[in-house]
Symmetry: C2
């Protein structure tokens, strides 16, 4: 206790950390507790809207919540918690700049969130991009448009085909929504290009399981699958990406192409 | 001539290249000429508004003009023109992807624009950021706020002082406007921080000449200088940055500090 007030430490400012802090801030009377939140960034990313940010349907800045402005009664430390010694009620903070230090607490909430999982596929780490941050969303959008620019700027058939092939791995929410939003963006952008048509593009979704979108149940998953295929998207089920070395995609079903 | 129509090649899609293309597009009848514009990006950056984009007073996306959408009758190639053989009326294009190729023309307009000048100051290239692109504007904004975050997240006096010292080199439009807009942003942002006050920050402008803003004349330049100093900004005239190695700024007037 500091001055008789419990010190509450929240590790991580994602959805869970932010709502914990908001709830505490609302329920506690002024001066009843000291709340500290530690997060690598000064903002929280609302992940369900990331695909819309990638396609430009939502402004990227509207997908982030600036933590300081909503958590007025919380002390925000930007950095990492590298260790928690719960016996001593002390956490090790590594701030953005400067030496690490110890921070005492009475109550700790651990909500560190998740990071993109990179499957051990040869070449994937070098050629693929994750989808957890706003920077990645903006990168994906720019990447699709710059690949269309590249195709427009050359007559080389091989360069064009490779530039216009887009591969997504994983048929969960992130993969399917990102693909659907970006394909929509690209389809719409075609009207600004002289030589790039929807038919020139190849959109591919690779999923190891027998269906997509397990989160919404089998029936809806099948409906979504049918809609994707109806839109001309190649969906490979029960298929794994075996390697992506040098930008050459090798699938477990024998398919092989550049992207 | 291609099909009897003159082929016009515009090298560079900055202010000059864009307005040349817009003017031609407006004055020429459909089919009267073939206009091609080559630019590394598919957009033009309106540089006078960059400082406002850096401070967040203007949305970054409103500072760029998407070339394809405004130049509907122009062919846009994203890439570089690496050589112009005017005797043969042929330019070498290096597209974003794929091998270089030759492009014939009848008329060429060369408007390649400028790039940030990095003075040969030891350590400057490693520690400084230019100010010509939207990415640099956003980087500057994030850099100022993340330095304030860093100061808030530690009690180390040295780390705090260094994090809160901002140095600008060059008293022309770019340097003065960037400093003024960012200082304004930081001053305003202070209310979201518990430990960072305006008085804790040090803003420094270094200019080799005897005055600032030569573009607007001596009288207004002196007025601007007075306003900056009134706002607590340290302006060093007839002073050069001699080195920035390891983040330690050494000025020609003997001043030395970390930033």
């Amino acid at each position: 206790m500091a001055n008789g007030r419990p010190r509450i430490l929240i590790v991580g400012g994602g959805y869970v950390g932010l709502y914990t802090a908001l709830g505490l801030q609302k329920r506690l009377r002024r001066g009843e507790a000291e709340i500290t939140l530690v997060n690598p960034e000064s903002f929280m990313v609302y992940q369900p809207f990331l695909p819309e940010a990638a396609s430009g349907n939502i402004e990227p800045r509207h997908v982030v919540v600036p933590l300081r402005t909503v958590l007025k009664r919380v002390r925000l430390i930007t950095g990492h918690v590298t260790a928690v010694d719960h016996e001593r009620r002390s956490a090790t903070i590594e701030p953005t700049s400067g030496p690490p230090y110890e921070l005492g607490y009475d109550v700790v909430v651990v909500a560190p969130g998740s990071v993109s999982r990179v499957l051990p596929v040869p070449g994937l780490a070098e050629h693929a991009v994750g989808f957890k941050s706003v920077a990645e969303a903006i990168y994906l959008r720019n990447q699709v448009l710059s690949r269309m620019d590249a195709a427009e700027s050359t007559d080389d058939v091989g360069v064009r085909r490779r530039a216009l092939t887009f591969v997504f791995v994983g048929g969960g929410y992130a993969g399917v929504e990102a693909l659907a939003e970006l394909e929509d963006l690209a389809r719409d952008a075609c009207r600004y290009y002289r030589t790039v048509r929807r038919e020139d593009m190849r959109w591919v979704l690779v999923e190891a399981a027998a269906g997509i979108l397990p989160e919404i149940g089998e029936g809806l998953g099948e409906y979504a699958l049918e809609r994707l295929r109806h839109r001309g998207i190649a969906v490979f089920l029960e298929t794994r990406l075996e390697s992506a070395e040098g930008g050459v995609m090798r699938l477990s079903n024998g398919e092989e192409f550049e992207a």
